[in-house]
Amino acid sequence: MNRKRLAPGELPPGVADLFFHAAEQKLALEATLRDRFTRWGYRPVIPPTFEYAETLASEAGVRLAEEMYRFFDRDGRALALRPDLTIPTARIVGVKLFDQPLPLRFYYIGNVFRYEEPRAGKRREFTQAGVELIGAPEASADAEVIALLVDALQAAGLTDFRITLGQIGFFRGLLAALSLSAEAAERLRVAVDRRSQAEMEAILADFDGDDQTREAIAVLPMLAGDPEVLDEAQRIALNQEMAAAVANLRQVWERLRQYDVTDHIVLDLAQVRGMAYYTGILFEAFAPGVGFPLASGGRYDGLIGHFGPDQPAVGFALTVDRLLTALDHQAAAETAPPIDVIFQDCGHMECLSLVRRARSLGARAALDVLGRSVDDLMAYAREQGIPRVALCEGPGRVRLVTEAGSRVMEAAAWEEEVRTWIG
């Protein structure tokens, strides 16, 4: 095959290098998320990065199967990079943990891989942080993962965000009441998903049902907003399934009110994405500065049953890279200094012990292993934004130079000084 010659070090589309501040920021965010998940009683799960393609693309993962990176093992078996972490977690629970006491609470933070057009916030390799609450069918479990998402976003430093909350049972019930062909059902789903009034009107024009049914279709795209929309939804419910979906949303809303997070929630019964996958509530989180969801999740009671005994489950996955974009948009980006202090490398063991002491106290201290002159070292620190330079004044004595001036100190004063940096 005749391939275009690559430029040296060229990257494939949809991947990124992170270093310096961006890498630190991402790791710090992951640490914050890990801490929050842990505080809510979730424990880590670390599945393999690749598995047999068959496992990942079973009926369970069919929505992602087309986007998987596939390759062959030496014995000719098809492997694939994981396109998400929910399917591997479901496999672990279904195959290995089916007899464990319930509920199981898992969290993960890891990279996933999807072959899709790299645009609109979509990368081919990206980081997901998420939770799965397994074995609890109640509304209180639904509310827990949403409240945890709110807590995690707030802990990350995001203040302005909203979560749209729907219940797929409402739309499923509507489809059941209409008894449409698969094709017509998909046409209706797309129209609702796009909030397309025109397409809805066209569908209604072709539809010969009673007035009550027509109204239910016409009103559906507008069922978004405060809990009052639940009253309206209840009014137009055509069958038990639709009514049950509304009742479930009421219970979830009530629990969310107890968690004091409803300021961030918008109800949206026209949310119909991932219909093949979700079986109950479904939600997406949005923040200013990012035109697409930061996180999405919901209840998927049918997934684990592909790998073992059926198990109700609810969870979410947050795209860490998108959350970073949203945080950049919301907070004036402050550039933290890369390290706290740089030491002249004088070769005294006593001076080196001051460096080691600083590190053991928690300061970020580096030695100038290039052995620069004092002038060069000062210039380097200024350019790098390093706030302090320690110059040797004899064994165990340093002159600490900062913007405010300079001061000579020995071990005792040094320790006291370092403590003031790390507060």
Partner: protein
Amino acid sequence: MDRLRIALPKGRLLSASLDFLARAGYDFREGVQHTRRLLVSDGTGRLEAVLVKPKDIPVFVEYGAADLGIVGTDVLREVERDVYEPLLLPFGYCRLSVAAPADRPDTPLRLEPSPRVATSYPNLTHRFFQERGVSPEIILLSGSVELSPLVGLADLLVDMVETGRTLRENGLVELRTIMHSQAALIANRAAYALKKEAITALIEDLRRTVAEMRSADDA
């Protein structure tokens, strides 16, 4: 309430879009026609407009750089971006058609082996021919599409037709309509959640204006 940003299409749809918004109470006409600024505010301060090329409008809206946009459904289907389409607007009517020189023998398109088709709508064109089992050679142009059969660049062309006059004057005939198009309001998915109140109020204003224009047409 949050201020919203709407992306308006430069070119064919611009003046009808401006008239429509003015009728709904958001008047950008002064700002757009008498300045060269790309970001214009209306009198009410509730809405600001950016002027961009039609094909870029769904992109601005998908990324959330604009909360809303006005664009033809032809462009919307061509570029396939993930946006909401709450409202069709009563202007910008036209159709996307396949056309050929008037002296083309009268044979069905599906019998063409691999026609050379000039267009600035490659995705819709490709889909139209694929559905007929024909794999066309698509010649992507950004303008002067009508010229291409006359100078031997292409066998067929696919382009937007309003009255058909340009085609006739160039000795071309319409063979088939691929789709009918009109202006549509599109919205960013995140803005729908984050600025729900402002967006709902604006869409309501526009919906009312559409209804008024329809009943005026009927009268």
